[in-house]
Symmetry: C3
Subunit: 470 residues, 3 copies
Amino acid sequence: MEKTSTDTLPLTMISSEKQETVCIFGTGDFGRSLGLKMLQCGYSIVFGSRNPGMSSLLPSGAEVLNYSEAAQKSDIIILTVHREHYDFLTHLTEVLNGKILVDVSNNLKINQYPESNAEYLAQLLPGAHVVKAFNTISAWALQSGALDASRQVFVCGNDRKAKQRVMDIVRTLGLTPLDKGSLMAAKEIENYPLQLFPMWKFPFRLSAVLCVFFFFYSVIRDVIYPYVYERKDNTFRLAISIPNHIFPNTALTLLALVYLPGVLAAILQLYRGTKYRRFPDWLDHWMLCRKQLGLVALGFAFLHVLYTLVIPIRYYVRWRMNNRTVVQAIAKKENPFIISTAWLSDSYLALGILGFFLFVLLGITSLPSVSNMVNWREFRFVQSKLGYLTLILCTAHTLVYGGRRFLDPSTLKWCLPSAYVIALIIPCTLLVVKFILILPCIDKPLTRIRQGWERNPKFLESALNGKTDL
Amino acid sequence: MEKTSTDTLPLTMISSEKQETVCIFGTGDFGRSLGLKMLQCGYSIVFGSRNPGMSSLLPSGAEVLNYSEAAQKSDIIILTVHREHYDFLTHLTEVLNGKILVDVSNNLKINQYPESNAEYLAQLLPGAHVVKAFNTISAWALQSGALDASRQVFVCGNDRKAKQRVMDIVRTLGLTPLDKGSLMAAKEIENYPLQLFPMWKFPFRLSAVLCVFFFFYSVIRDVIYPYVYERKDNTFRLAISIPNHIFPNTALTLLALVYLPGVLAAILQLYRGTKYRRFPDWLDHWMLCRKQLGLVALGFAFLHVLYTLVIPIRYYVRWRMNNRTVVQAIAKKENPFIISTAWLSDSYLALGILGFFLFVLLGITSLPSVSNMVNWREFRFVQSKLGYLTLILCTAHTLVYGGRRFLDPSTLKWCLPSAYVIALIIPCTLLVVKFILILPCIDKPLTRIRQGWERNPKFLESALNGKTDL
Amino acid sequence: MEKTSTDTLPLTMISSEKQETVCIFGTGDFGRSLGLKMLQCGYSIVFGSRNPGMSSLLPSGAEVLNYSEAAQKSDIIILTVHREHYDFLTHLTEVLNGKILVDVSNNLKINQYPESNAEYLAQLLPGAHVVKAFNTISAWALQSGALDASRQVFVCGNDRKAKQRVMDIVRTLGLTPLDKGSLMAAKEIENYPLQLFPMWKFPFRLSAVLCVFFFFYSVIRDVIYPYVYERKDNTFRLAISIPNHIFPNTALTLLALVYLPGVLAAILQLYRGTKYRRFPDWLDHWMLCRKQLGLVALGFAFLHVLYTLVIPIRYYVRWRMNNRTVVQAIAKKENPFIISTAWLSDSYLALGILGFFLFVLLGITSLPSVSNMVNWREFRFVQSKLGYLTLILCTAHTLVYGGRRFLDPSTLKWCLPSAYVIALIIPCTLLVVKFILILPCIDKPLTRIRQGWERNPKFLESALNGKTDL
């Protein structure tokens, strides 16, 4: 679009006779893909190139000029050039003055340079309005239209008007702009596409530690112990039996760890008598990745279910049952039916199924499109009430599974109790503490603290002033 | 819309020299969180407070003034104060005149006051442009950025310009504004965050009733009857066997009830000979919660699958099979293989699996993000064609499960047939009626009615006038 | 923001005294529903009708005039009339001149007319600004608010200003506009609601072919062969055993076919020495429906899991195990426990479970709302790394399932190996080729080609010019 004096129509509503012209510096893959997409959406495109006569593969309908000429054609220039080559722009200071310069670049490593590419650009050309955008979109996605990964385009810049112009373009291309504020956010935006599941790191590491612990614990009890005492080769248990000890115990522990930070926060608030002091960083981080922790726990629970359901198909199980029956038949001995055992067996299965069912429900409601449909009251009802019910059911499932063998000395091997006894420690403690916290005598002051009341109002004025506000 | 003259810039594109200033009345949690978020998105914030000198905890960069001074700094004021304290605004009538006043308040109960807070505010200050917004967003979500629940911000107000301004702010904060019309919608918007799954109430109650019915029915047949006649203690069946009667029967009945209102509506339209008369309210409401009914049915089906798959792990089942084999071996009697039994057993399992598979597919396509990717033809194909196929498979699964025992007098206990016979009544009736409805001689007039034709055109003019229109 | 002088308002911000008036031509279902929705969102509506005095059922608050009068009331006219009746508009050429005319029509068949309805309209009325919109939204959805299918409204038109106006209306109604460019896109937009899963056609046909092949292959080996040689009636295997051969083999083959086009593309790029030549059309199409192929494969895998888990409940399996035990008991012969068999049995189950688990994870990340939350690096990590791991696990599962029987002559029937041997051909070949491709000596040139390097740079200038650009 040519420079508009202030006496014309609003910028987003170009008079129909003229299309908005956008200039793209650089004719690499990304520049070409973006140019093609913008042409399709009704923009007029001018490419700026070092050797305009030699550029090829450009989308038909686009003009190619040298940098300076191209820049004069539009007041918005999209820069699809590597940061290392930004120097050439210093020769164009004059023509770029007052124009909108869109930085789409990415780096190869997180925090590769002391300042973000966009901030570096803004230093090079103080007269231009630098806007960071489009760096999260891939050239291939633009070309194929298969925007399977994010449609979100993070936009930041110091000039609200320039930012608004760029966000209008983003919207016209069928993408979703998200304003991240001033150019100071550019560093974060540039790091974003280089991240690999940052919120999942802590849950993955934690579950890896738990898995390794339960693995060695089970190997000692189920493989090494029988080998030492009975010379029995139990190594085949490594394929199914031992994973089916690791997965449920890890899942239960992780599920308890989802609700532990909430309880710790409540205790801290009770102790401090105020909610207006920040939690320690580790607690903050823990609270922010509870959803990920819960989903990892759900993964382990799902594996546990599958590992359990294949039990009757296993050769080992079929052999053992066949063998026991044959031995009994030869001895002409029938088994009596013990009702209490039937009760225990059916109860732990039923508790496990119900717990897993609620767990799957929790997982479904954490899908972005589902959680986006519910209001806060509903979301908290599901995540808190249903979450605790899930934890209670899963803990009860494990307790009943233990049943009469629970802490029975005959199940100890080298003084080690079964793995599920270890896994029960955190959930049981948590549930007891939570139960104490919801006793009226403790719940009341806590609720008051959460509504803004303070025991030792250091921030008296705020307490006075803000207590009537939302 | 009239053509505007061309001598000013649009409101959303502020000249870059000055940031837009927004005033926030109230320094409670929500006001502070909103202020911080808006500062981050490039707004300039002025807090209005009773005691500006004593306010603390406010985000750095924000100014704090008394109400009157703060209001003069901006033409848009966000009011984060409880409704009970709105009176103080009457002293500011003059300074608030012509300004945009955003009401973000919520109540504690649904329909707590005769009029909505926003309408009450508009009555207090007739000169201000009141806009309702932001009441569905929590302070915690704004602070942490973890907008797991809805990103949708419902906006309503009588002044389109004021509403547009507020919607621009909402969009800039990365949220999604949704225009709900005039201030008359404020009541609904204020009730929204207080609701707890309103569309799920009817399905939950209905399934609770069905569960209770099938529970007592099964207890009478499977626990009380054997106790009375054989003094057998079957109580352990309460854990798995009886739930596994309740769940599939409830699921099948609910699934049929998903398709029943559609059939009733068709019969009603055929009877009335027009589609231009409203359905009774109960039918309307039933039709609107079909999706929820179906999802509840899927939940029960999922539980039924899990309860069925654990059967071979149950102590009771293992004991029974072991015992039978031992008895046979002692009697030296081999069982003959009955091919027809193998056919029946495998068929009902296969039908059940295929029905469950389609049911899960239906559930997945009802996820908001999936259903948003399909067009109407595809959506109706899945929900109607696949839906009926699911119902047919599940009904057939139950019929074949019954197999030869179906209505066999020996299965009657106190004249009560098995629970699945009861559960088959609605689906079988429905399928027969549906089959009649798709007979050409009935389908043809129905299709014509649905295209706007009327048998007794009371609304003759409309039929004449509109029949060529979409 | 400072107060703006009041002598103009931007186009989107109508002065509050006057509501924007929109005219709707046609009083059919769609026109009435749209009118009602727009009234609720604060627009003023005028219906244009042939017989304004005789129109009924119209939403209260709307005016009804004849076409010409109605058109004069607004500069935006929404045309809800079938294409066959567009002729009447020619009488209104003058009054429609310069106005925005929104075409919402759909046809009954794909490509029913040589040109799209919107283009036809633009030819009829060259002076009007024709915009195509709203054709993907159903009247019922507008009325009930249950927008379960797409909320996306595709918009196209040659006039940017007119398009922008229509997109503002779309947004105000709570829908999501998507700019598809000039009016040339109207044909595609009109065909869209008539499509039935176009991307799924190839995957469905392919899997149907595979299913039929594996069906007949299994029937020959498992039903016809035993009947011919042993006169055994194995037909009951058609219900579960044979589907449980068809499903896993189809799933494995389809999963391999998801990754085959990527490998073929890499070989083609290596052979051509450039990435700047288009792939053949069949390869392009294949690559674009990989996601659908993968999801169909996941469906078959899911069915395989269910069919496998019901094995121990089947009458046939229970009878066989019971019979074997009875025979053994009568013969007083105990089975020895073979550790290697236990290892094989447990390993193939464990590999299958882990493969299925990763497969489900892949499926979940392909949900639109989930894939929209991840960046490109994460998306490619999941779809490529995790995808190959899934393929390796599933192939290993099948290999170990074969175990010692693999290609054992005794398993050949009429020289036909078991079905899983056939299903292993493509995955094993693919994995070997992929392994060769990631050898450093081959991976290096491939990576350079993908970064833009060319072996025989026909497009030398582009290579020179673009290589420093993104």
